[in-house]
Symmetry: C2
Subunit: 250 residues, 2 copies
């Protein structure tokens, strides 16, 4: 961890609060994390990326990423945000935290995502980062266009993981056991977050609340039913508040 | 303030964070305050009272009340919650903070609320608390049932305030200038909060976020458009996080 600490300055207070919620070394662990407004919106509009985190909590996210083997987002987020899904150093822009950068994972049941010309493709081709794993539902093996897409990803060292059962348990089991990714951080979007909250498919939860209302037209996160959390700790950052918790076991 | 501090123990950290957002002595001031879940619900169901605050932040609310001249809720909240709207002492149940208890105000444009048999009526009749001010729209003066209701409130020393213009500005102007209530704390419900956020009808805002998701069926608070806040401070309480802010002036 000394390497991570040296390059991403996160306040001692935040680090101290977050540390008990980090994946235990060598154990399977899923962390669900996202930033929301006071009115529980993760974006101002459905198809728009909105920055809610401040500089400090953005750094915190990169610090969290560096503690995980894999980082997963839903296909909609991959398409709209075109994310890098790597660990960025904020103290020295030229230094890349490649070694700590987790394996990017795109959850894409219908295999809609195009790898070509994305930030992930650019990172894999030119910057030495890992090419993504795309998790799809089985049944697309015979589609020529999709076969071609699959090859494009594999050519860069990436992988297309086809699953019959698309439950969270099967997805994480496959990533843990077949792909060797013990700790996985999930960053969104709304559908992924809600569905993980609904079935309790996470070990720890880290929510950044930004002091803004995004309004009714924003992209909301609210599960179907109530979710009770356990071992809750808040850390007041400079501008945001960060909540850490684990799933309440009955 | 020594009297208040003696009887309602609120942590030094919370008090320190809240103090700059309290009404300045002798100035007109409106504080908007409420407790919400992570998914921005103030109740688990539309017509149900849900406790979101922990003991500590409940005490904080009573401590905040003791710093205001008036406390306002909407008619729907008055009907569903049957609130006492007074300052409760938590250290010594027999000791009543009557002197610091603010003037209860019910915002009730159609004058639907029944004073009779409410906690507010009981408090006024037996416990020495102030009878409420009901703020209504003008035009009900001739309705016999409503005249009777009005008399019932006035008999206990309360008041029915009739306004032609029911904008937030007119309501607070009348309460400040005609009723001598300089500092007013508004506690809800959802419609009142949203509409005050939308027009910026507050000087300071105190939101308690409880670490729970209440789910889609809950009573949501989200203004029509985005609202940017200024001078934001968070205080991590034992279980909840409390955000203080002021309205962002352009």
């Amino acid at each position: 961890m000394s390497d991570i600490d040296a390059h991403i300055p996160v306040s001692a207070n935040l680090k101290q609060t977050l540390t008990p919620y980090l994946p235990p070394k060598g154990e399977n662990h899923v962390t669900l994390t996202y930033a929301q407004s006071l009115d529980s919106r993760i974006a101002a509009k459905r198809d728009e990326r909105t920055t809610i985190s401040s500089e400090e909590t953005k750094r915190m996210t990169h610090w969290l990423r560096a503690h995980h083997d894999g980082i997963l987002v839903g296909v909609q987020t991959a398409i709209i945000d075109n994310p890098g899904l790597h660990c960025k150093s904020f103290t020295d822009e030229d230094y890349k935290l490649q070694e700590q950068s987790p394996q990017p994972i795109i959850l894409d049941p219908q295999f809609r995502w195009e790898f070509k010309a994305t930030k992930l493709a650019c990172n894999a081709a030119h910057n030495g980062y890992k090419a993504p794993i795309v998790v799809t539902k089985s049944g697309y093996e015979i589609d020529t266009a999709k076969k071609f897409k699959k090859k494009g990803i594999e050519d860069f060292g990436g992988k297309v993981l086809m699953l019959d059962d698309f439950s969270w348990k099967s997805i994480f089991d496959a990533l843990h056991n077949d792909c060797g990714l013990k700790s996985i951080m999930v960053e969104g979007g709304a559908h992924v977050i809600e569905s993980m909250l609904e079935v309790g498919a996470f070990d720890s939860l880290v929510v950044t609340v930004g002091p803004v209302f995004l309004g009714r037209a924003g992209l909301e996160v609210s599960p179907k039913e109530s979710v009770i959390l356990d071992k809750v700790k808040w850390a007041a950052a400079e501008r945001d508040s960060v909540m850490c918790a684990v799933q309440k076991k009955e």
